[in-house]
Point group: D2
Chain length 337, copies 4
């Protein structure tokens, strides 16, 4: 960490800062420039609150040098993490595709879709049972019944299940029934939920918050990991920007950024990013080209009748065709699919 | 709601859409322009999923005409709501000031601060017991012990208590001990928490999410209100933008916007918005000038030693002086303080 | 265009609005719902100022139905436009690559780079002669001398030249010397410059402004086209968001969006978007996968010594290798390269 | 400036960087921490290109310590600058109000408005003659004729004239006729225009770009000042964010930020920020409360018939009433008006 003092900062303030930091076990390396003094702080600064150092009126700037995340940091874990989700490995050479309906609606619907996505090449089944909706008046999911339908579809197809958790009350049930527990964008900084999930050993799919920086996203992963659960898979699903033509802006740059900063796998959800079905295909191709470890795609056998988000769902035939093209791109970027 | 069809949209698609909507009890009013057809949908469209209507390839645009919130909507409740928080009324002519430390640290600290802010003119005491922190390695608050200290300070001063809830597990305890339960920006769309708070009758202070539109914020209020609890106070605390000089960008325009759209009271938290103590004073003045119903300000008797966010805390003397100026501005804009 | 009146809007205001619009030749189709009245306006509304209609206190909302751009609109020009730049066609089946140094430095440098990118498969040479820099104290380009060096490199290699214009004073010179005149992001709404370029018949490369919506970008193209010059090529180069890890956020969704809304070709500049050389390759692949008609990439034979933006330049060897992979992806998405 | 090397950075790279910087006259102060090495660079780093230093693969981060602006920097010019505009001083104790119509329409219109705003307490007249419009099909202003009408109004009232320049071709004419030359938000980084204006000695009103950081805005001022013209007045007019309820988001925090960083005066344009007339009044009050040196407000005697932006214009009566309230707030924050 680097502390920059204002020009003419009183010696007294610098001395106070120095003794304060030294008392906490840090070592100070001082630089005296023309207009200002800089303290380089040596030690594990991840516990230091950057804002506290800024209070002193003599301080001009405080800048972090080391990333504040540790367990998620590639610096201390150079190899890619490969996470095993019910027998399917994410983060290795093979790009995994998670597909399924936005909402679980009936046993028949979810089983049918599960069969067709399996045929199309998907390796996991997603489906919403508990649905976070902007409006309390919108359909909120089939809840426990939805979980049962997902389990039914898994029984038929063998595909591991991915579904979103919204409440800590449900953790026990999810640990039992679900293979990959999704934390939605709106709950990315629901720290209580993250900490409790950190106490399980289930793989967690951590979606990026709508306005979360890459660093905050990795810090949210750190919340889970610091409790002992290192099975975290990150998911980029679009960020909020000024552009309104698409629902969100898919941040493809986040993929190489995360791969550089962290050893955790990162997948892309092109369906939620755009909110427009005709954009899902080009964005899925971009995601594979840019280096994602997997995709999360909405597939529905009857989008017009879907209870939610039909607008962004692919039909099974389109999905199968898309998978063919994605495989070609995967090969070119040195991956299997 | 208005549906715009693409030029040359097949009659068949329009007919299907019409019969679909009519079967749900809506009335359709059709406009035929030069290049396109428009359906005006008459009925209570708040239950209609706008995205579902967009799936049909013949549809160009779907636009909502009525706001999707009802109970929070001023249209159906023209008078300002005045919320009673432990005897203190927010939303009326008097601008209320909620002040206190970012974190509760000791009984002495919080009681001392409570006394001095009461002297300065504040009418409620805020203090964090459960702290949402970006890093799992930062101080997370004194938790239940912090609540006890707040109660101690209330006993001494009579000031109602405002503190943040982070988990549904704590609701019962908060309902007992806290006068105004704060939902933080990160939990603005933690719908499970909102719904459970909606089942209580405690006043809720709902902070705006970092990247929440005004409409989404009011929809979050609607989650609480739709469960029966209409005691919602909104709090603007800065939004995330590209500007990095300030921690967030205080959106003062949101105050008149909310007052126009909704009958709920809205307060401003200038401390979190800027993250810089020297900016709190001018922003507090701007908030009163622009029409806020209250302020939420961090005050600490020893900012340099604060366990969190000292950088944005005012000292009691400054707070008292600021209150004097704020009263002057309040008078000019037709309010008491 | 659709005008929504407030509930209880006086008949007088509606009548005034009606007669005002009818006097301008528009036809009004009125819908009367439960809580509000809607006017559907039929006619060419692209000349109507949407803000003017909002002044009337009885008006709740005004929504545009038709896109405000005409010449750039695919609705009126369904075929893709193919623009001829000095013999190279952009917008057709072949994806074109424009490469070269950020800044022109010496005759030798630019000729060397031109030769190596030609060998690598690029079809046009880019290089900055007039450089827009955030700081007046940074290197501003070789200006006219830079243009001469670019011409020298063209003479040697036959590659058409792409370079940025910053001032209307230079238009005559650019029309003579340059094959594709670039308008930078900062000048996207320099309407005087756009209008003057619209009076030439030179191909224009119009970069998207940092905070320009897709609609504003197409309206900027419309400024050029409305003066008679329909040779506009759009260039996505990243938008400004809250994320600071990358310099800008490459908006890959903008490519399919533009292809749907407009017939104009659209290319991607992955170098400026990220500002990090190691991100250029994955982003270039994403751009080809998502459907771009071309790429604009910085290549430098000695990045460490570059006078600007070396941080985002590829070395010729890397560029050649990247081209190989891009060709593979192009084939899969049905394009040549 | 501070350079942070990656852990395990080769000594060779550090040595090369050191000799490169020393050869440019900088002094290096090296810190060796547990995981990394830091170089503190001493000297005038405003000429160093931060991106160039990032190319070296051994470099992890480069951070600027000193602000890159010099002439605009309060550090080197602690006193507030007071700019004389045709006899009216901006930046001193008195808050100045610039008012007038969005567009100049007729001699009578502008003279009438000038008279009424003078009566209301405004000290300068604004009015658009050359109008930057998103659409080429919207009214573009009366141009030279508009300038003549402004001069006519000045003759009658004595109020100095403020109007926007869009092209370097017009500078000579503007220097002759206009008292305060406005550079619009879209041209904030039209560096050619800025440099030419820097060669005059006319006061310049520099609006903040839609997506400009405070630092970029001050660097744009620096472009003008570095050419010799130090008469720059900054104008905050709203930034682009994700919120769409208001046209832009007025960044009131920018006012205290600019006052801290720079000695230049800063005024606020509440009319363009919101784009809604009923929001102009509360935002104007907030602007005065937060410390602005002046206001720029649209006033029109017949908003419904205005040729542009009527939606955000105040009627003269409302303006006069508003001025009364603003004076009260000014007094409280220690200013005259």
């Amino acid at each position: 960490m680097v502390i920059v003092f204002k020009p003419g900062a009183p010696e007294e303030n610098k001395a106070k800062m120095r003794s304060n930091l030294e008392s906490k076990g840090f070592q100070i390396n001082e630089i005296n420039g023309v207009n200002m003094t800089i303290f380089g702080i040596i030690g594990d600064t991840s516990t230091l609150d950057i804002n506290m150092l800024r209070i002193d009126d003599a301080v001009d700037k405080v800048m972090r040098v080391q990333e504040p995340f540790k367990r998620a940091n590639r610096m201390f874990h150079p190899q890619d993490s490969v996470i095993n989700v019910g027998g399917v490995e994410i983060g290795g050479r093979k790009i995994q595709v998670i597909a399924g309906p936005c909402s679980v609606e009936t046993q028949e619907q979810v089983t049918d879709i599960a069969k067709s996505i399996k045929l199309g090449g998907a390796s996991m089944l997603r489906g919403g049972a508990f649905k976070p909706r902007t409006s309390p008046y919108s359909f909120q999911g089939l809840k426990e019944v939805g979980l049962e339908y997902l389990k039914g579809a898994k029984k038929e197809t063998g595909l591991p299940i991915v579904t979103e958790i919204m409440s800590p009350y449900m953790i026990e049930r999810f640990v039992e029934d679900v293979d990959l527990i999704q934390v939605g964008a709106r709950n990315m900084q629901n720290f209580e939920l993250l900490k409790e999930l950190g106490k399980t050993n289930k793989p967690i799919l951590l979606k990026r918050g709508l306005a979360a920086t890459i660093e905050e996203w990795l810090m949210a992963a750190e919340y889970i990991m610091s409790e002992g659960n290192e099975n975290v898979i990150l998911c980029e699903r679009g960020i909020r920007t000024f552009e309104t033509y698409t629902r969100n802006t898919l941040d493809v740059s986040a993929i190489p950024a995360v791969k550089k900063l962290s050893h955790l796998p990162v997948v892309v959800d092109p369906s939620h990013a755009a909110g427009l079905w005709w954009m899902v295909e080009p964005l899925a191709k971009a995601a594979v080209a840019v280096g994602a470890d997997g995709l999360l795609t909405e597939v529905h056998n009857n989008p017009e009748a879907a209870l939610c988000d039909g607008a962004q769902s692919l039909r099974p035939e389109r999905f199968a065709r898309l998978m063919g093209e994605l495989k070609g791109i995967a090969r070119i970027v040195g991956r299997d699919m």
